[in-house]
Amino acid sequence: MNRLTASIVLLSVARISAAGPLIPSGGPIAPTHKTLTEIEPRTAINASNTPGDADSVFKITKVGSYYLTDDVMGEAGKHGIEVFPATFGTVTIDLKGFSLYGVAGSLNGVNASGAVNVRNGAAQGWGGIGVMVSQGILENLHVVFNGAEGIRALWGSTITNCVAEGNFGDGISVGDVTRVHGCISKGNGASGIHLDGACLISECVAYANDFNGIEGGLSTIRDCMLFSNGDAAIADSGFSIVQGNNIHSGGIGILAAGSRSRIEGNNISGCTIGIDVTGTGNIVIGNTCTDNGSNFEFPLGILNTVGEILSFPAGGVVTSHNPWANIEY
């Protein structure tokens, strides 16, 4: 009996030691917990919350903030995530590091007809566009090997720290009033970055794209690195500032086919033509070119404002006092 008593006492002690205090804290009784909804208030994208339809694996129909909990696998004839309609507000999607994987015959990875922000994830192998929005904030996206553009934003967007690689169309294609900063566009079947309107492009890299590295007009293109693009590293259609870019190899370095652009302080090497101005009324100053098939080409009889071109062979000494001179070296 003594052994039985001791065992029961021991068990009781163990239970008591695991319990919390029996004396309630002072003040009125109130819950102290947080609900899981408060911990993660956003809506998970899944078959229950965002069921798809005939042309989408998942479909978001309400304004709000959403996130992925897993990779999304594409299906033929469907978008991965479709946002429609979103005319009443903005939808935010956090991919949370997950990927949207397309399959043959699939449509767009993200297809949004309204204002949508998309962050932190990847879209690859879609039959159409990797991420397509009308307007929004796109950042930290990796869009690769899609059947059309990697990213397409129709207008009014900011695109930051994105990588577009191996897409069949343009790597990044943007419309009016858009900023593209810190992005990489590599090995795409069309152009690296396509601009359609007043845009600001800075500190981007465009590498080995089949057509142009960056193409567009009415924009500022500054401090970019462009390497081995097929047609032109920068194809400017006019009304732009093209400044401080570093360009190497490939087709034409800078093609100025429009008018009223200021092309200044760029460095171009190893291209078929360094700076090729085919338009009129541009100003070309302070650029440097070396080892291009032809460093500078300007059509005869067409007026552009061009700083004198100074040639300094290897071992030469730069002695000019013309601060606007273009230099081949």
Partner: protein
């Protein structure tokens, strides 16, 4: 019989203890004082959710923050007549909108307001369709607003006061200005278009860098006091691309087609002591127009203005304007160009 029952009980207790030990972990406790190893949900999300329990509204707010701290949204916020969406009634508050939207209603006030407060930060969300301002911090100081999209508000998209930082924001289709910052403020990497007032307006002693303004119903960028405006694109605004009063440094901007539907200069300086350098301006009524005195205008390029590429009042220090054509030689490092 009694001994048999006792034996069975002892065996049962022993087996229960053995079973419990088999499921248990190491019996040797780790060194140091006894302490829990779990995280509470409050440790996982220490911030305070904005809801009717934690931040109940009052007569003029749907939600009201009355204690300093870090807050976040857990759903969209819908406006009500006579109320702001979120009113901040205390200093030192951070709000993460968590990607959600504040959506106004007829007769409502501002999306977010913080009358007279300071040290306010608002991030990562959307405000639209408020009859007042989207972000109404016009009497709050030391504020941060970033990654906010403000659109279709009747007033100003993002309205801040002095000592503000506005970064990575998009403002469009607002009835007033897109973004207003007070003195001693910084704005960078913002887009403002199709607003009823200026795209960007600053009170002075501020920097505006790498922003894009377009199709606004007044100026693209307006600085009524000292400011640095650099690396911006301003196109097709109704009046001026960039308008400054005095003591501004305006450099490296691309401005085009000012006076779209009105009359305008791509860059207009109305006061003195401004340095206007290295900009490219095209189209519009005037390229660079200086009506004030005592300004320095150097190294700019201007083309295609309808009235004049340069219109500089007397008593300014403007470099010579060259129109030299192809292959030009000049030793003047400060020259302005028309082309």
């Amino acid at each position: 019989m009694e001994s048999r029952i006792r034996l069975n009980l002892e065996v049962a207790v022993f087996l229960a203890m053995i079973g419990g030990m088999a499921r248990a972990g190491d019996l040797n406790p780790p060194a140091g004082p006894v302490a829990p190893t779990h995280k509470t949900l409050t440790e996982v999300e220490p911030r305070i959710a904005i809801n009717a329990t934690n931040t109940p509204g009052d007569a003029d707010s749907v939600f009201r923050i009355a204690l300093s701290g870090s807050y976040y949204l857990t759903s969209n916020v819908f406006g009500a007549a006579g109320k702001s969406g979120i009113e901040i009634g205390v200093d030192n508050v951070t709000i993460d909108l968590a990607g959600f939207s504040l959506i106004g209603a007829p007769g409502a006030l501002d999306g977010i307001s913080a009358p007279g407060r300071s040290d306010i930060a608002i991030r990562n969300g959307n405000v639209r369709s408020w009859p007042g301002d989207g972000i109404g911090l016009s009497s709050a100081s030391q504020t941060v607003v970033e990654e906010v999209v403000a659109r279709s508000n009747t007033g100003i998209g993002i309205n801040t006061f002095s000592r503000s930082l506005v970064k990575d924001c998009i403002c469009y289709a607002n009835g007033g200005a897109g973004i207003v910052v007070g003195s001693v403020s910084t704005m960078t990497l913002c887009l403002c278009y199709n607003n009823g007032g200026p795209g960007i307006s600053t009170g002075g002693t501020s920097t505006i860098t790498q922003c894009v303004t377009r199709l606004n119903q007044a100026q693209g960028i307006l600085a009524v006091g000292p400011a640095t405006i650099s690396g911006c694109t301003s196109a097709t605004n109704t009046t001026h691309g960039i308008e400054v009063s005095s003591t501004c440094f305006v450099s490296g901007n691309e401005c085009s087609n000012a006076g779209n539907g009105g009359t305008g200069a791509n860059i207009l300086a109305t006061g003195g002591d401004n340095r206007i350098e290295g900009n490219n301006v095209t189209g519009g009524d005037f390229g660079i127009q200086v009506t004030g005195t005592g300004n320095l205008i150097v190294r700019n390029s201007s083309s295609g203005a309808g009235t004049a590429n340069y219109s500089i009042a007397a008593s300014n220090k403007d470099a010579q304007v060259l129109s030299p054509g192809s292959g030009f030689v000049s030793t003047d490092p400060w020259a302005n160009f028309t082309y």
